[in-house]
Symmetry: C2
Subunit: 301 residues, 2 copies
C-alpha cells in the first residue's frame, strides 16, 4: 500500500547513504525515478537532486520540474514532457491535496541540499502545476511545492484531542482587496457561466488571478489580472481546463472548443498580457483553433 | 472608510481603559454594539466580553454568539437572532475571507480575558457560521473565529519581497483519507448535481463533512458523514443554502423547495443522524414543506 505522509520511524532530517537505503526504508520506493507514485493515487515522494537544471529550490518552496522527454541513451531531453507517469501522479496529489515526502540529494549548487547522500526533508504540498518552456522549443511540467510548515494545519485549531482528525488542505482560495473589488463590480456573477452562488443572506464568488500570484509567475494583484468566477470555474481555470483566447472567448482546454465570450462590466477590463500568460501556461504546443474575428464579435454579450 | 485588518500604530496586545478609548483609536467603532461592520462590507471588529453566556473562548478559537433578540428594557433575550446587522456583517466577512479585529474585555470567567479594561488581540477569520439553539426555544447565530496565527499566510511563502501581496484566505478545503475514499466511490461526480469537474489529466471533487469536523460540532471523519460534492454545491452546503431531508432529497434552503434525491452508490451510505445535525444547523425554526413519501420514492435515481 502506498503511504502518503511520514513513514513510521523516519524523522524529518534522517540521512540515507544512497537510493537503495531510501528504497529499503520505504521513504522513496523508486531506485531511478525522481517521482514515486501513480496517476490514480497520487505521488507519495520525490527526490530533489538537481537533475534538472531548472529545478528551483527555495527551501520551503520548491519549483520542481517533471520527468520525461529524455533520450534513453544520452539522458538529454529531446522531447516535451507529458502529463503521464510521475507527472500525472504529482498532478493528482495537487488535486487531492495529498502530502508528498521530499528527499533532497547532494547538490553543490543548492543551499538546501545535504553535503552528502540523501536527506528526508518532510512533507510538502503541490499547490499548483503548469506547463512551461524548458529548453528552446521543449515544454516541461512544473510543480510548485510548499512545505507543510508553511501550510495551514486545520487539525491544530481544535481544542482537546478527541476531535482531532488528520486533515490536509486540498485547496486554499486566496482573497485580496482587489479581488473584493472585482467581485463587487460583477455582483458576484461568474464571468464564465454567469451564475452567482446564492448563500443565506449573501452571495459567494471567488477571485481568480489570471497570471498567478507568487513565485515564479509573480502576477500583479490588480483589477486587470483578476476574474470573478464561481468555485467550479475557478477550479477549471486554475487547472487549465479552460483558458481565454485574445478575443476573451472561453476555450475548453480539453476539447479545444471556443465557447462564449467572457462576461464583462464597465470599470473592469482584463489585460491581454495576463490572459496570454495564463494561456501559455496551459495551451502548451497545441494551437487552439481560431474562429474568424467576425464570427466572434457576433457572439458578443 | 472601514478598515479591515490592523489599525496603524495599534500593536496586538494594546490595552484600552474603556469602550470610548477603543472607539477613539479606531479599533472598534461602536460604543455599545459588540460587532462593528456592515452587511454589505463585512465586520471589521468584535468585542468578546462575556456578554453572552454561550460565547466559548479557547484563545486561538472563539465560538462567538451573534447579537439581537433582546428586550431593550431588560436586556434579556426574548426572540430569535436574525441574520441582519452585525450578524450579517460577520457572515459577509466569512464569505469574503476578511480579517476581523478581536478585542477582549474583562471577564473573570475567561482565561483569555484581560484583568481590566479591553485588549486588542489581533486578527481572526470567520471560518464558519450557523444557527444554534440558545435558550430553550430561541435560536442564535454562532460564528467560529480562528486566530490569524493558526491560519495560513500565503504571502509568507514567496521568496523576495517584490512579489508579496497581502492576501487572506477566503476558503480552505480540507481533505482526509475518508474524503478521498468517498470521492473515489463516486468517481468524482457531485452527489447533488451529478457533474464531475474535468481538469487536465484528472477529475476534481471535494469532500463535505455533513456534521462539520472540529469544535463545537465534532463530526466524525467516517464514510457516513461525508458527501462527494462539486465546489459550487460544497459552498452551498457549507453555507446552508442547501440541506437534506430525511429521504435524502436536496432542499433549497432559500426557497424551501425539495429537489431531487442525493445520488448514491453502493458502499457509501450516509447516516441520517448527521444529515439531521446539518439540517438543524441551518433549517432553524422554519419547517421545510414535506412531500408524501410516495412522491419522493418515485423520484429515486
Amino acid at each position: 500500500m502506498r503511504i502518503f505522509g511520514h513513514i513510521d520511524g523516519i524523522p524529518v532530517g534522517a540521512s540515507f547513504l544512497d537510493r537503495r537505503a531510501l528504497l529499503e526504508a520505504g521513504v522513496h520506493r523508486q531506485l531511478q525515478a525522481g517521482i514515486a507514485g501513480s496517476a490514480t493515487e497520487g505521488a507519495d515522494s520525490i527526490v530533489v537532486s538537481g537533475g534538472y537544471e531548472d529545478d528551483d529550490d527555495f527551501g520551503d518552496l520548491i519549483i520542481y520540474t517533471g520527468q520525461g522527454g529524455n533520450d534513453p541513451a544520452t539522458k538529454r531531453q529531446v522531447a516535451d514532457q507529458q502529463l503521464t507517469l510521475g507527472n500525472a501522479a504529482l498532478a493528482e496529489s495537487c488535486r487531492k491535496g495529498l502530502p508528498v515526502r521530499v528527499i533532497r540529494g547532494r547538490n553543490p549548487d543548492s543551499a538546501y541540499a545535504p553535503p552528502r547522500g540523501f536527506r528526508y526533508d518532510g512533507l510538502y504540498y503541490v499547490e499548483e502545476y503548469w506547463q512551461a518552456q524548458g529548453k528552446p522549443g521543449i515544454s516541461n511540467w512544473r510543480f510548485r511545492l510548499i512545505s507543510q510548515e508553511r501550510r495551514p494545519t486545520p487539525e491544530a485549531v481544535e481544542p482537546g484531542p478527541a476531535s482531532r482528525v488528520a486533515t490536509t488542505v486540498q485547496r486554499l482560495v486566496r482573497s485580496t482587496a482587489v479581488v473584493q473589488r472585482v467581485k463587487e463590480l460583477h455582483s458576484y456573477a461568474c464571468q464564465v457561466c454567469g451564475s452567482a452562488i446564492d448563500v443565506r443572506g449573501g452571495w459567494y464568488a471567488e477571485g481568480a488571478h489570471i497570471r498567478p500570484l507568487g513565485h515564479p509567475h509573480d502576477g500583479p494583484d490588480v483589477l486587470a489580472n483578476v476574474l470573478c468566477l464561481c468555485p467550479n470555474d475557478h477550479v477549471r481555470f486554475d487547472f487549465g481546463a479552460i483558458w481565454l483566447d485574445d478575443d476573451l472567448c472561453v476555450v475548453d482546454g480539453l476539447l479545444l472548443e471556443i465557447g462564449r465570450r467572457l462576461r464583462t462590466v464597465a470599470g473592469h477590463e482584463v489585460a491581454l498580457a495576463h490572459v496570454r500568460y495564463h494561456r501559455e501556461l496551459w495551451q502548451g504546443r497545441y494551437p487552439a483553433p481560431r474562429q474568424p474575428a467576425g464570427v466572434v464579435s457576433s457572439e458578443l454579450g
